[in-house]
């Protein structure tokens, strides 16, 4: 480090100057600076004005079904992910090579994460779903940062530009699909581990209502009234609980969709306003956001799954 100090400082200074020049050029000559200073933006810096389209756009149609750019991106994600995984786990050995170590690292980290929350008993049940959600969301998010996303495209019927690839997470259907799968898995685990009636019991506590009616038949008016009242309140709370499970789908969907769409729009806008290098930090931010969103989606599925698998601490009271 000490030896090549002068040289590396020179290089560092040079790189910094170049970066600054690029940044200033972008800042002054880009749409932001030019509109403020009244200079005309040179054509080579004129990035097309971003137009935000929330629904994904169809690229071509197969017998009435429109293959959208987000669908293509999600296929790309699957191909990349499976290709990578296939290469890594083609020859599994007890003493791992580099690629196998990578695969093991991913699986082991995720498995430990799941084990940490779900415990040894349920980890293997929950793990595949959680890991798949994590890898899918993460790969979708990271692939979307590659340059060919949003740049290569076709011209649509009305003359608008339609990119061939668009971040799959920014199509509401994809977060919704994962949210539905997460919901179905959570409810399935709950039903399977507890059985239908016991699982229903975790929502609705009929105990107090029943006790109330028993008291009524015995002629005890006061406990009967309070029992029946609280019984109905319990049922109402149970209804809210059921509702909250469905609301999870919506919150899952819009959390991911919102974050990813906002990130994409942020990148587009920054790139439009200040062309050249100003968007690089935002790419870093997007890396973080993508990781976080994948983590949150997988983590929440994990937590909901654990709650469904392991019954609540408060068992329905059978004795009055």
């Amino acid at each position: 480090m000490k030896m090549g100090c002068g040289c590396s400082i020179k290089i560092l200074a040079g790189v910094t100057i170049i970066l600054l020049v690029l940044l200033l050029t972008g800042l002054i000559l880009g749409p932001l600076g030019s509109s403020l200073l009244g200079i005309k933006t040179p054509s080579f810096l004129n990035v097309t004005k971003p137009h935000v389209e929330l629904p994904s756009e169809g690229i071509f149609h197969v017998s009435g079904f429109s293959i959208t750019n987000t669908l293509i991106a999600s296929w790309l994600t699957i191909i990349v992910l499976i290709g990578l995984v296939y290469v890594c786990t083609r020859k599994m050995k007890l003493i791992p090579g580099r690629l196998q170590s990578l695969a093991e690292l991913i699986v082991e980290t995720l498995l430990n994460f799941v084990k940490g929350v779900a415990g040894e008993k349920h980890a293997r049940t929950i793990f595949p779903v959680v890991a798949t959600i994590f890898l899918y969301v993460l790969t979708n998010a990271y692939l979307a940062l590659l340059p060919f996303f949003g740049t290569i495209g076709i011209t649509g019927h009305d003359g608008t530009f339609i990119p061939l690839f668009r971040a799959a997470n920014t199509d509401i259907n994809l977060p919704l699909s994962i949210a539905i799968i997460s919901f179905v898995c959570v409810e399935f685990w709950g039903l399977r581990s507890l059985g239908f009636f016991r699982y229903l019991n975790t929502f609705f506590n009929f105990g107090q209502l029943r006790d109330g009616f028993i008291s009524l038949f015995k002629g005890k008016i006061r406990p009967a009234i309070s029992g029946i009242m609280f019984g109905f309140i319990n049922i109402f709370v149970g209804g809210l609980e059921v509702l909250s499970h469905f609301i999870r789908i919506i919150s899952f969907t819009f959390r991911l969709f919102g974050n990813m769409t906002a990130g994409e729009i942020l990148l587009l806008v920054v790139t439009f306003l200040v062309p050249l290098i100003a968007s690089i930090p935002f790419y870093g931010l997007e890396l973080l956001v993508g990781f976080l969103q994948a983590m949150i989606f997988a983590g929440l599925t994990l937590v909901f799954g654990v709650i469904a698998l392991a019954p609540h601490a408060e068992e329905p009271a059978h004795t009055s």
Partner: protein
């Protein structure tokens, strides 16, 4: 819902996509890797158990060896002690027998000497008597006969104690 693009067929395709990904990841990632991890864990556990077993065995055999050594040492000591005892005894016996032999030799020698001495004395006495007789004859020529002389001298000699007693 059209505004943000919820689209049922697309949703279904995405669900199918996810299921496909889930299945493929299961086949190509989770199953083999988890299998390998489990296998490795089992192997590590096994080898650690084996190592523990070997360690215990080593300890046990070490103790056995120690016990053997201790036993051998004790035996050796016992043998040495016995040998020393035997040697001591042999020495004592040899000493005793030597002493006895020496004593017997001495006593034999002593009796021999006694015998020799007695013989010498006897011889000397006879010789002396002869000489005396001769001398007496020469002194008193034929006055007394030989037999009488002899008797006389014997009496004298008997009376003269120095030759009689030891």
């Amino acid at each position: 819902m059209e505004g943000i693009g919820i689209n049922l067929p697309l949703l279904i395709v995405f669900v199918i996509n996810f299921i496909i990904l889930f299945g493929l990841l299961g086949i190509f990632l989770y199953k083999p890797v988890l299998k390998t991890l489990d296998e490795r864990q089992a192997r590590i556990k096994e080898s650690m158990e084996q190592a523990e077993k070997i360690r215990q065995e080593t300890e046990r055999s070490e103790e056995e060896i120690k016990a053997h050594l201790e036993k051998a040492r004790k035996e050796g000591q016992a043998v040495i002690a016995q040998a020393t005892q035997i040697g001591e005894r042999l020495k004592e016996e040899a000493k005793d027998s030597a002493r006895q032999e020496a004593e017997s030799v001495i006593s034999k020698a002593r009796t021999e000497i006694q015998r020799e001495r007695d013989k010498a004395i006897e011889e000397l006495r006879t010789e002396f008597a002869d000489i005396a007789i001769l001398a007496a004859e020469k002194v008193i020529k034929e006055t007394v006969d030989k037999k009488k002389h002899r008797k006389l001298i014997d009496e004298v000699l008997k009376e003269s104690t120095p030759f009689k007693q030891k």
